[in-house]
């Protein structure tokens, strides 16, 4: 082992280490997560990730169908053979149906708000370390997506873009404490900031802070965006109030919000790349 430390191989390892430290310093100094070589590596992985995400989705659909067909078998055994033949077709049908539904929803939003430019995207990556359910989508700067763009579904807002590659983008969800959105309780008009909270995120809730102490907001109220700050357009659905309580400082109230979208399992999203409100 002593010989190793004086060998060329050890010097090579030191050079690699210095290079990695350099890349890390460059990325950190430029307020980015990735440096150019790694961005290329990430971009190269996207087509493969798209395939595996598609397979995973299809298998999930197949398993769902299998369970349902089991129930049908119990009710009506003579239809088993026919159902088995239809099962594979149904998986394709479900995938197409989901895609059509997504396009329809995007079209409805486009009809209602013609100024909004929307890019449809699929979720292709989720890492085990993501405590706040951040994910990677299969669209990037080539499709007009930029950092801070707002990410939504037909149900409500999901998060915002934090990193963009040529054909992929990383999205931080509204369960992440680093994300905050100007919002309003639609019934009472009370304004506050909706964002992640470390403790609430585990139950997939977020917090609406800075509510006035005399707020009349109550469980069941709907929360929408105000458009303040220019990152999120106004009147996007965010979630429902679950509970309103006093903040630890005692100066204001905080509402626990249940987002409308199931952020942990969302598979398709829409990115608003442009809006004029």
């Amino acid at each position: 082992m002593k010989d190793f430390f004086s060998s060329v191989k050890f010097k090579v390892l030191l050079v690699v280490l210095v290079l990695l430290a350099g890349v890390m310093t460059y990325a950190a100094a430029n307020d980015r997560l990735t440096a150019a070589p790694q961005e290329l590596l990430g971009a190269a992985m996207v087509p493969l990730q798209r395939i595996t995400a598609g397979i995973s989705s299809a298998v999930e659909g197949f398993v769902d169908k299998y369970v349902r067909i089991d129930q049908i078998i119990a009710e009506n055994e003579e239809l088993t053979a026919e159902n088995a033949a239809l099962r594979e077709q149904m998986v394709d049908y479900d995938l197409i149906k989901r895609e059509v539904e997504q396009l329809r929803q995007a079209w409805e939003i486009k009809e209602e708000f013609p100024d909004r430019q929307i890019v449809n995207a699929n979720v292709i990556g989720r890492d085990p370390l993501e405590k706040y359910y951040a994910f990677t989508i299969d669209k990037g700067s080539r499709h007009g997506i930029e950092v801070k763009d707002c990410v939504i579904t037909a149900s409500g807002i999901v998060g915002r873009v934090i990193e963009v590659g040529p054909n992929y983008a990383k999205v931080a969800t509204i369960l992440d404490p680093s994300v905050s959105v100007g919002c309003m309780v639609s019934r009472t008009g009370d304004i506050g900031l909706v964002g992640g909270d470390g403790a609430l995120a585990m139950d997939k809730y977020c917090a609406m802070t800075l509510l006035p102490r005399d707020t009349l907001a109550a469980a069941g109220d709907e929360v929408i965006t105000t458009g303040e700050g220019g990152v999120f357009p106004k009147q996007l659905a965010v979630g429902r109030v679950v509970e309103v309580k006093l903040e630890p400082s005692g100066k204001s109230m905080v509402a626990v919000i249940e987002p409308y979208e199931d952020i942990e399992s969302v598979r398709t999203v829409m990115v608003i790349t442009e809006f004029t409100e």
């Binding site: 890390m24 951040a134 990677t136």
Partner: protein, 178 residues
């Protein structure tokens, strides 16, 4: 002719590891794949450790750096965060196996658990605790620990796969008198 075959065998061994690395990256990032109660295993860590334990300090450290770079991409951490740590850990693991430990499955599991705890602990420290986020202890119990347990489960098959690849190429190299 023989030297060409030898070079091909050596390259083939590294290509197999590279394919395994890409496969592990895809499995690690595929949404919903092997996800139990919101936790999923880390594939890149046990793979890098298995390669390091089998191949020695120099290739081990390099494969550790490569696995770490891919993990940096998938987890959205600053480039180099996992690459540097995994490079150092793989170097240490390879040295430990070469000097003090037997390359048994039990030791492999222990090393994976230790390395996993260190990396997941560092991740929580640098990306959650130092940012002032609340509930970090609960995050460790409800998210990091299940992730580590699932990682230990996938550790054994990955170790078996790496050993199988290495054995096959070792036998072929032996045939050439290497």
């Amino acid at each position: 002719m023989d030297s060409q075959k030898l070079a091909l065998l050596r390259a083939g061994r590294q290509l197999c590891y590279a394919a395994l690395l890409v496969g592990c990256y895809l499995m690690q990032t595929t949404p919903g794949f092997l996800t139990f109660f919101g936790a999923k295993p880390i594939f890149l860590l046990p793979l890098a450790l298995a390669i390091a334990a089998r191949e020695g300090v120099f290739p081990g450290a390099l494969w550790g750096a490569a696995a770490g770079l891919l993990w940096d991409i998938s987890s959205g951490r600053t480039s180099g965060f996992f690459a540097i740590q995994l490079m150092a850990i793989c170097f240490g693991v390879a040295a430990l196996v070469a000097l003090y430990l037997r390359g048994s499955a039990a030791n492999g599991l222990l090393l994976c658990a230790g390395a996993g705890l260190l990396l997941l602990g560092n991740d929580l420290l640098f990306h959650y605790l130092l940012h002032g986020y609340t509930g970090v202890g609960a995050l460790f119990l409800r998210s990091s620990l299940p992730t580590l347990i699932l990682t230990l489960i996938v550790c054994l098959p990955l170790r078996w796969l790496v050993n199988r690849i290495a054995d096959r190429f070792d036998r072929a190299l032996d045939a050439f008198g290497e």
